[in-house]
C-alpha cells in the first residue's frame, strides 16, 4: 500500500510502486483534469505539483511520491480563482484546451520562482507543448498573472 496526499486528501492505494503518478491520478483517483499527452515527460500535459514543484506526472512513479503532497489542476484553487486561472480567463487562452491544465500548473509553479518574468524567462522555462499554438496568449496571461499576484 502506498500513501499519497492529493489535493489535501490522503489516499491509501494498492497499486504497483512503479505505476506512473499520472495513471494513479487519472485511473485510480478519477481526477481527469490531468492529461496524458506523450508518456515521455516531453509535452507537459500531465504537469502537477509535488510538494509545490511542477512535475511531469507521466515520468514520476507513484512509489517516489509516497508521503508527498500532490496538487492537480482540480486542487489548484477551490473556486478556479488562482491568479493564473484568472489571467487565463481574461486572456481567453485555451483553444482545444487539452494541454491547458498542464500549462496552468507549469505557469503557477514558474511564477513562484520568477515573480516578475521577462519573455525570455518564460520561453526558457516553460516547455509545455500546445498544438493549437496558444503560446502568444500564454505569454500575455503569464505577465497578467504576475501582475495579479503582486496586488
Amino acid at each position: 500500500m502506498i500513501t499519497i496526499t492529493v489535493n489535501g486528501k490522503q489516499h491509501r492505494l494498492d497499486v504497483e510502486s512503479e505505476m506512473p503518478l499520472l495513471w494513479v491520478i487519472r485511473d485510480e483517483l478519477g481526477l481527469t483534469g490531468t492529461k496524458f499527452g506523450c508518456g515521455i515527460s516531453m509535452c507537459g500535459a500531465c504537469t502537477v505539483h509535488v510538494n509545490g514543484e511542477a512535475v511531469r506526472s507521466c515520468g514520476m512513479v507513484v512509489g517516489d511520491v509516497a508521503g508527498k503532497s500532490v496538487t492537480t489542476i482540480e486542487g489548484l484553487s477551490p473556486d478556479s480563482k488562482h491568479p493564473v486561472q484568472q489571467a487565463w480567463l481574461a486572456e481567453d487562452v485555451p483553444q482545444c484546451g487539452y494541454c491547458q491544465s498542464g500549462q496552468i500548473m507549469a505557469a503557477a509553479a514558474f511564477l513562484k520562482e520568477h515573480p516578475k518574468p521577462s519573455d525570455a524567462d518564460i520561453d526558457a522555462n516553460l516547455t509545455n507543448i500546445c498544438r493549437c499554438g496558444t503560446y502568444v496568449r500564454i505569454r500575455n496571461a503569464i505577465h497578467r498573472a504576475a501582475a495579479l499576484m503582486k496586488t
Binding site: 504497483e16 505505476m19 506512473p20 495513471w23 487519472r26 485511473d27 485510480e28 478519477g30 481526477l31 481527469t32 483534469g33 490531468t34 492529461k35 496524458f36 499527452g37 506523450c38 508518456g39 515521455i40 516531453m42 509535452c43 500535459a45 492537480t72 489542476i73 482540480e74 489548484l76 484553487s77 473556486d79 478556479s80 480563482k81 486561472q85 487565463w88 480567463l89 481567453d92 487562452v93 485555451p94 483553444q95 482545444c96 484546451g97 487539452y98 494541454c99 491547458q100 491544465s101 496552468i104 518564460i122 520561453d123 526558457a124 516553460l126 516547455t127 509545455n128 507543448i129 500546445c130 498544438r131 493549437c132 499554438g133 496558444t134 503560446y135 502568444v136 496568449r137 500564454i138 505569454r139
Partner: protein, 727 residues
Amino acid sequence: MNQIVKTFVSRRQFVVASATAAGGLAISVAFPGLADAASIGSQAWGPDNAPNEVNAFLAIGPDGGILIRSPHQEMGQGAITALPMIVAEELECDWSKVKVEYASPARNLREKNVYGPMTTVGSRGVRTSWQMLLQAGASARVRLIQAAAQRWNVPAAECEAADSKVLHKASGRSLDYGALAADAGKIKLDKEPAIRTPDQFKFIGKRVARLDTPLKINGTAQFAIDTRLPGMVYAAINACPVPGGKLASVDEAPAKGRRGVQHVVKLDNAVAVVADSFWRAKEALALLKPEWDTGAAGKTDSAQFAKMYRDTLDGPMVGARNDGNVDAEFAKGGKIVEATYEAPHLAHATMEPLNATVNLQTDKLDVWLGSQTPMGSIRQAAAASGLKPEQIEIHNCFLGGGFGRRSINDEMRQAILVAKQVGKPVKLVWTREEDVTQDRYRPQAAVRMKTALGPNGMPTAFDAKIAVGSILRSTGINKVENGVEAQAVEGFANIPYAIPSLRVGCMLKNTHVPVMFWRSVGSSQNAFFVESYVDELAHTAGQDGYKFRRALLAGKSDFLGVLDKIAEKSDWGKPLGQGRGRGIAIHECYGSIIGQVAEVTVSKKGEVRVDRVVAAVDCGHVVNPGIVEAQIQSGVIYGLSAALYGEITIKDGRVEQTNFDSYQVVTLADTPKIEVYFALSGGKKWGGIGEPGTAATAPAVANAVFAATGVRARSLPLKNVKLVGPA
C-alpha cells in the same frame, strides 16, 4: 424556479443519471459562472430533445433560459461560441441566459439532416452555417413576437424584441421570452422572415469571451479520454507498424497472468491488451512481440517515394486548368525559370491522443468520442458493430485537437472490435507512439513549376506539374485512379496572379502510407510551393516580392487589401541587420485570403529563429474578432512547426518518428511575436478561419530565410536545409 426549467435541468440530470446506470459519465457540472456570459456544460453533448423547443436549434424555458444547439464541434476553433452568437444576433436575447450544447447526431439522422452535415472540417463552421443560424434565430424571434401580439391582441407590427423580451411600446407592456416560448413553438409562419444584412448586425463582430474557457482552466471540460463508465476496462493497442500489414501471430504468454490483465485481443492488423487500468494494459502490451505480415510495403522508404514523385513529374499529367497557350509562350523563348519543390508527409499530432470508449450491447451502441464528423462516425460504428445506424449514439466530447485527424475514427472501430470480444464497456487509448505511427498523414508531394518571364520581367506563361498522394482514394471517398482532385491542386488551380498563359496538371500516386486531410490540406504544401516560387520569379526579375505580387494582383481589391496591410504593418522595405530577413506570402483558401510577412534571424550556424509574423486576413465578415485572432495565431504556429521541423519519414515501410522527441513541434521558445490584422472586404464573402493561417506561414518564413541568407529552400522542413556553406 419554474417548472419547465426544472424539466430542463432534470432532463439533463436524467440523461446523465441514466447514462450512468448504463455505464455513463459521472461528472459534476461545476464551472465558474461568468455573470454576463453564456455557458456550456463540462459535457458538450446533451439530450436530443427538450421541452419548449422553438425549433431544432433552440429551446427556451419558462424562466427564459435559452438552449442553443451547435451543429459543429468544438476542437479549439471557437465554434461553440461563434455559432451561437449568430443565432443570438437575430434572437435579440440576453446572452447570459444562453446555454450551448452540441446538436445530436442521432436526431440529425432521425430528422433527415435538420442540422446539416455537422462536419467540422474545411473551415466550414461559420461559412456554411451562418445563414441557417441567422434564420433559426430570426424565425424564433418573429414567432415570439407573434405569440406576444396574440396574447395582447395587438398587431405584431407594433411589437418588438430586445434583450429576451417582447415589448409593446404603445401600451408599455412587455413579456419575457420564457413566458412566450410555449406559444411561440406552436406558431407556424406563412413565410420565414428575412435575415439581417451585415450592416444591421449588433452582436456579430463583438469580441465575446469564449464559452468553453471556464471549463478549460480547471480541468472540468470532458474530453473523450476522460470518459469513465462503471465496469469499464481499458485497452492498449499496437497495430501493424507497416500500414496495410496484417497480424501474423503473437505469443500471448508474456502478457498473461500480469496484474490486472484480462484479455489479449487479436484483430486482423493489430493486437490489444485489455486490463483494469490503462497503464497495466500498456505495460503488458509492450512485452508482446507480434509477428507482422507486411508484404512488399515492408521494403519501402521515403527516398523511394521521393524519387517516384519526382519521376512522375516527367510523365503525363491530368489537366486542372489551362489558360491561354503555355507551350506557344515557352516556344517564344525569353527568360525561363524552372524549379522542383518537395514536401514530406506530416502527422497531425493532436494533443489528445486518439481514443474511444464504447458500450456495446446487443441492440445499442454508445460511443464516447471526439469526432469531427459525427454522422460519419455513426456509419463507421454501424459497419464495425453490425448494428443499424439508428441504434448508435455518438456522445461527442470536446475534441483535444482535430486538424483533420478526427474525421475518420480508426480508434472507434478498434474499440468496437475489442468490445465485441470482451463483452464489457471498453476505453481504448492510443499511446503517443501509436498516434504518430498510425496516423493518416499529410501527403508527400513533388511539384515542378516553369515560367517564361517577358521583357518587363513579368510572367507570360506558367506551367505546374503536381505529383501527390490522393487523399480521397486513401480515405475511400473516391475510387478514381486517374483524375484531378481538388485537394491536390488547391492553391494552384485557383492561382490569383494575372498570368496570360497558365497550365496546372496533376498526377495522383499513392503508396501504402495512408494520407488524409491535414490542416489547410493541399494548401498546406501548395502555398509553400507557389509562394516560394513566385518569390524566385520576383528575385530573378530583379523586383521586390511585395511589388511583384502587387502587379500580378492588379484589380483584385481583396487580395491587394491584404497585401498592402501586411506590407504596411511589417515595415516592408525597411532595412534589417546582417543575417536577418523578411519574407512575404499571400494565399487564398477556404474562402479567405491570408497574407503573412515573417521576419527571421539566421545564426552563423544556420539556425533559424522566427522573430515576428505579421498576418492579415480577409474572411469577409468576422463573427468574433478574438476567436479569429486566436485562429490565425494558431494557424501560424501549426504552420511553423511544419516549416521548421515537420517530417514523417518511412523506413522498412514503417514510420520512423514515434513521439514529440522525434516529431518535433514548436514550443514557446520558438514562438514569434504574432500580429493579426483584418483587411475585410465584406460583401458576400464569408470565409473560413480555422485553416488559412497555416498555409501562408511556411512560404513567408522560407522567403525570409532566402532574404537573410540567399539560400532558397525548395523542400521542407527547414531543419534539413543547409543554410551555411561548408567552412
